[in-house]
């Protein structure tokens, strides 16, 4: 770990001004520290060995009090500035990370490991407090104060200056060595913490399932085990950190003792004067103190730095930016040729191959086995997954552009999309959004009439109207309010809210009873009739029946399975009808 990570400065620009302020306050502090030692030793010396009276030292005592007051004000200013700078820096980092994670979409870390990513964005960034508010200002002090003290002592006593000058650099050298040693441990500590958050999010989400299987109580042991692991990795880091604090303190103490002994002996032998001896003795610890504190704060900042490392890994993930071409207004023809999508972590392509043309005003039904790549095809059309082979060509009035050259934000604005597993969230991210919050995620300015029209198209208007709070009914995740089927139709209403040239629906009739399905199918047909290019993933016949073309997306070997199934079909159908449902 570097003492000063330039990336932290880059992502949090507000840090620079703060460092400037810290330098100014540091210089003032150095001057005050030296003056305080000077005055204090003068008073003690003049009273003890020069027999001064109270009136002789009164001004000096008042000055000591004034210095204390000034240092109090400076300390206050420094504290307020440090915390403010830290809060600003954290805010900038948090915003940058969240924006980036959102832009990465469903293939990014937000979808892969939501618990860990959330922990990083909240606690990880909060842990940088130790870095910004404590370590950075102390680092500035650690550069200024020792140099100032050393210069002052040089004017008093050469031997003491030499002792300090030789021992002082040992502290940073030692710190660097320890920093190198602790890096892997700090990384591991953050991993454990991220794991802990990820695990607990998993646990909280899965509590109903655990309870159904009578496994909820036995998770206590798992929590204990994770807690113990968290404790032992954290203690591993802390042990090193405490040990290095101990070493730094001993180093500083021994160095001060060396100065004190040399001063004491030479004082007893009359080689130097009492005022010089006392002044040097009071000042020497002040040279080591800021460096020691930097060591301590560095360890306090280490957790934040460990998190920052992860943060920058995420921030440096390339976002599928797409191009800059903005499609002209008009109906859109989608030409998909030999499209293939592979994910780096999977050996087999997620979508093997697809070739079809979706014309405006028509419905294209995507059918095929579970896990065959139907949703991946939809993700590719949305620009969430990049083609690893083949192309997606978009044509408006005969003018064509490849999808990877198109401005993705503009492109998505033309699409109405229903994901397979919809999340109903409001843009204000409330705990449980209201129906209207959830539906207007895309555009909060639409009128209530339009909301009702979308609800009607999705076949849920009557049920919403019958609820006591109507559009302001709160949606809860646990199904206490709306059923899964109702949520499904709300998501459809969200997709249908604003007019779109392209409609991508992933199983819009899942979880619907036949008459609701009928309503949704009719709405899809209307969209196509209005000129939209409709691509719909269908598991059931009703949607296929209104399709103008059908595309089967399946794993290649599924062909054989299907063929087997085909051969056995009469027998299989017999089994199904005969024994059960």
């Amino acid at each position: 770990m570097k003492p000063l990570d330039p990336r932290l400065m880059r992502y949090a620009r507000s840090t620079r001004g703060f460092i400037g302020l810290a330098v100014v306050l540091g210089v003032i502090t150095a001057v005050l520290v030296i003056a305080q030692a000077r005055l204090l030793s003068d008073v003690i010396v003049s009273v003890t060995s020069e027999g001064a009276s109270w009136s002789d030292v009164r001004d000096a005592v008042v000055a000591v009090a004034a210095i204390f007051a000034t240092r109090a004000v400076i300390a206050w200013l420094a504290e307020v500035a440090a915390v403010r700078a830290s809060a600003r820096a954290k805010q900038q980092l948090r915003e940058a990370t969240l924006t980036h994670v959102l832009a990465l979409g469903p293939a990014g870390p937000g979808a892969h490991s939501p618990g860990e990513t959330a922990a990083l964005i909240t606690r990880g960034i909060d842990a940088l407090d130790g870095y910004y508010a404590r370590y950075l200002p102390q680092l500035v002090l650690a550069v200024i104060v020792p140099v100032a003290v050393l210069m002052t002592v040089l004017g008093q006593d050469l031997l003491s200056t030499l002792i300090i000058a030789v021992t002082l650099p040992l502290i940073p050298v030692f710190m660097i060595l320890i920093g190198m040693y602790t890096k892997s441990q700090v990384d591991r500590q953050w991993s454990t913490l991220a794991l802990l958050s990820g695990h607990f999010l998993d646990l909280v989400s899965g509590l109903p399932t655990l309870k159904i299987f009578g496994r909820a109580k036995s998770q206590v042991e798992a929590i204990r085990a994770i807690g113990d692991r968290y404790r032992s990795t954290t203690m591993g880091v802390l042990r090193v950190s405490f040990l290095s604090s101990l070493a730094l303190e001993l180093l500083a103490t021994l160095s001060v003792a060396l100065v004190a002994v040399s001063v004491g002996i030479r004082l007893a032998e009359g080689q130097i004067t009492y005022p010089v001896a006392l002044f040097v003795l009071l000042l020497a610890p002040e040279a080591y103190l800021p460096l020691r504190l930097v060591g301590q704060h560095f360890h306090a900042a280490a957790e934040g730095l460990g998190a920052a490392d992860r943060l920058f890994t995420i921030l440096e993930l390339p976002v599928p930016v797409g191009g800059s071409v903005v499609l002209p207004d008009g109906r859109i023809r989608i030409v998909v040729s030999d499209l293939q999508v592979s994910y780096p972590q999977r050996p087999e392509p997620a979508l093997d191959t697809a070739t079809f043309t979706a014309e405006p005003g028509t419905v294209t039904a995507i059918v095929g086995g579970s896990g065959g790549g139907k949703s991946t095809l939809i993700n590719a059309l949305l620009g969430f997954a990049s083609a690893t082979g083949g192309t997606v060509h978009l044509e408006v009035d005969g003018m064509g552009t490849n999808l990877d050259e198109v401005d993705l934000a503009q492109w998505r604005r033309r699409i109405a999309w229903l994901p397979q597993r919809a999340h109903l969230a409001g843009s204000d991210l409330p705990d449980s959004p209201t129906v209207v919050d959830a539906i207007t995620l895309r555009d909060a300015t639409v009128s209530e009439d339009e909301v009702w029209r979308a609800l009607t198209d999705a076949g849920i208007a009557a049920e919403i109207r019958a609820m006591p709070d109507g559009l302001h009914t709160r949606l809860r995740a646990d199904g206490s309010g709306l059923s899964v089927g109702q949520m499904q139709r709300l998501s459809l209403a969200r997709a249908l809210l604003t007019p779109a040239d392209v409609v991508l629906l992933d199983e819009p009739t899942a979880a619907l009873d036949p008459s609701s399905e009928e309503a949704v199918v009719a709405a899809v047909r209307r969209l196509a009739q209005a000129g939209a290019t409709v691509v719909v993933v269908a598991h059931r016949p009703a949607l296929v029946e209104i399709a103008d073309q059908v595309v089967r997306i399946d794993r290649p070997r599924a062909q054989n399975v299907a063929a087997d199934f085909d051969a056995n079909l009469p027998a299989a159908a017999e089994t199904i009808r005969g024994v059960g449902w």
Partner: protein, 593 residues
């Protein structure tokens, strides 16, 4: 009601002995620090009188000893204190989790997922501050202040009194001023952080939608706004902390100045020897350095109070279902399920199911049908023991509310629409159904759920971790993993809540056939709004708006000509996907004929 912080402490208090040891070590370290400065002052003043070097040796040795002991005891205190605090934390986390478990799933409706996560992780972690930043610093500060003031009083009584008064000020008044200044801000800190965390979790949950719908700017704007709130709170906190630091330095300055003012005349008129002047002046310097940490402690206390309140809220939330104090044992052999005039609802304002009367004999297959929102899942929640009910629900003759919830669920299993797949291996996910199951059993259950082929295509077979693939597990695969888990659990009564919902035609049909065989010995309640294939079930119960409107066999309901007959007509007109699919080429658009 126990105060929130006290109840926090009770959950951690098993570590009392280790913490006492830590406090003792810390007090010795702090005393050494004070004594070190005092002895140094004495040493240099004595040296100034140019005595024989031998006179100084004892003091010189003592300085070195105190320097060492200060560092070493501080090290010991931190090590022991942190270890104890982290141990206490685990105890607290278990307490919080146990409460969540008690409430799940129906009692947690008021809390969001991100919010619960914050309570279980961040609010619990905040409790570390209680021993480390509140209790230990205060115990030490009081001890050290007492000893130092007593010594000064012995040396120069008047200085003891003055420094004693200032020490009490630093111990009590400064922290109080600081705590009052930031009280409101600190109380809001934990809820504000939780709100931010919950918002981030929700944003990440809905990442695809937020990006696709161009809502990223609005969402980050919201996070920015929440962050602004936090920034204001920390600004207030730092203002208070800076105020405390400032007052601390002023008090320290006052103490040093007062010591000089009192000691200088005392030296001049000979009440104390000149060598003691440095001691009287330097001891307060060291003492008030130690007391300077107390304002931060006061703030830490206020802050962790916010977290303690949030933890207590979970403890205080009543669960919807009250477990019986003397549960009636359920007979091993299932002899039938009988609902008589049962009614239930999720929340007071939610739609209810009412007047439900159904009898399910052992081995029966009963389908519960009806439009979405008609109360099918509410009925399932009652049968799982997750919702209280009026009327009667008897399982093998035992009233369900009188039976232990976990014992009930040993007999009644469910495949829920929202079944969770954990971030672990597929095998572990399935084994949740029966922890004692062998690998062969798990493998068999996966095969029964029609996952055999998919599993063999994975790099590590059933030991492949689901989480690392994330997107690679399709909706259908998720559902089938959940089904395998249920099959492995071998429950007497199985509730299937839309089991084939996300599956394509052939897979759904094949799965239905497999379930039929695999669950041959079980009593099955099938919740569905799909009516195709219900010809063979023993009974169909039709729910509309929370009431049973019809019950009977397929033929009877068809003959009755109601909703069922109408919906069944709609569905059965359609072509069978199973017949359509295999005839299509893969990956190529063909016009529908």
């Amino acid at each position: 009601m126990v105060s929130p912080v006290r109840s926090l402490w009770q959950a951690m208090s098993a570590q009392r002995r280790l913490l006492t040891l830590a406090a003792l070590l810390g007090a010795i370290a702090s005393l050494s620090a004070v004594a070190l400065l005092g002895t140094s002052g004495w040493l240099i003043s004595t040296a100034a009188e140019m005595p024989p070097v031998l006179t100084l040796t004892v003091a010189a040795v003592m300085v070195r000893f105190l320097a060492l002991s200060r560092a070493i005891f501080r090290y010991g205190e931190r090590l022991v204190g942190h270890d104890a605090a982290f141990r206490g934390l685990t105890g607290l986390r278990v307490t919080v989790y146990t409460n969540l478990e008690r409430l799940a799933p129906t009692g947690l409706a008021a809390f969001g997922r991100g919010d619960l996560l914050t309570r279980l992780v961040a609010d619990v972690d905040a409790a570390l501050d209680l021993p480390l930043r509140v209790i230990l610093p205060w115990v030490q500060a009081v001890l050290v202040a007492g000893v130092t003031v007593a010594f000064l009083g012995w040396l120069l009584p008047v200085s003891g009194i003055v420094i004693g008064v200032l020490a009490v000020f630093a111990l009590a008044v400064t922290p109080w001023i600081v705590a009052m200044t930031a009280r409101a801000a600190e109380a809001r800190m934990a809820p504000a952080k939780a709100e931010l965390s919950a918002a981030v979790v929700r944003a990440l949950d809905a990442t695809p939608e937020i990006t696709a719908f161009g809502a990223a700017a609005a969402v980050t704007g919201r996070i920015h706004h929440l962050d602004d709130g936090l920034t204001r709170l920390s600004a207030r906190e730092s203002f208070a902390l800076g105020l405390g630091g400032g007052i601390g330095i002023v008090v320290q300055g006052a103490a040093v100045t007062a010591a000089l003012v009192l000691a200088v005349p005392a030296v001049i008129d000979g009440r104390i020897g000149p060598v003691w002047l440095a001691v009287v002046a330097l001891l307060p310097l060291a003492l008030f350095d130690i007391l300077a940490g107390l304002p931060a402690s006061a703030l830490a206390y206020q802050r962790l109070r916010g977290s303690a309140v949030r933890i207590q809220e979970i403890e205080m939330t009543p669960s919807l279902v009250v477990e019986p104090t003397a549960p009636v044992a359920l007979p091993h052999a299932f002899t039938g399920l009988e609902l008589v005039d049962m009614s239930a609802r999720w929340t007071a304002d939610a739609a209810a199911i009412e007047g439900i009367s159904v009898a399910v004999p052992p081995g029966a297959r009963v389908a519960i049908v009806g439009p979405s929102g008609s109360g099918k899942s509410t009925l399932a929640a009652v049968l799982m023991g997750f919702l209280p009910y009026a009327g009667s629900v008897r399982l093998s003759g035992v009233e369900v509310r009188d039976a232990d919830g976990d014992a009930l669920r040993q007999q009644v299993g469910m495949l829920s629409q929202l079944a969770h797949i954990f971030d672990t291996s597929i095998a572990d996910n399935v084994r949740l159904g029966n922890p004692q199951a062998s690998d062969d059993d798990v493998s068999m259950a996966l095969a029964q759920a029609q996952l055999g082929e998919w599993i063999s295509s994975l790099p590590h077979g059933m030991d492949t971790t689901v989480g690392s693939f994330g997107v690679a597990v399709s909706g259908g695969e998720r559902q089938r993993i959940a089904l395998a888990r249920l099959l492995l659990a071998r429950r007497e009564i199985v509730i299937l809540d839309e089991p084939t919902e996300h599956l394509d035609g052939p897979t759904a049909d094949a799965l239905a056939a497999t379930m039929s065989t695999a669950l041959q010995d079980a009593t099955v309640l099938l919740i569905t709004h799909r009516l195709i294939g219900l010809e063979g079930v023993d009974r169909i119960v039709e729910l509309q708006a929370g009431r049973i409107v019809a019950q009977g066999s397929h033929d009877e309901l068809l003959a009755a000509g109601g909703w069922y007959a109408q919906q069944w007509g709609l569905e059965s007109e359609r072509a069978d996907m199973s017949l359509l699919l295999p005839s299509l080429p893969i990956g190529r658009g063909v016009p529908r004929t």
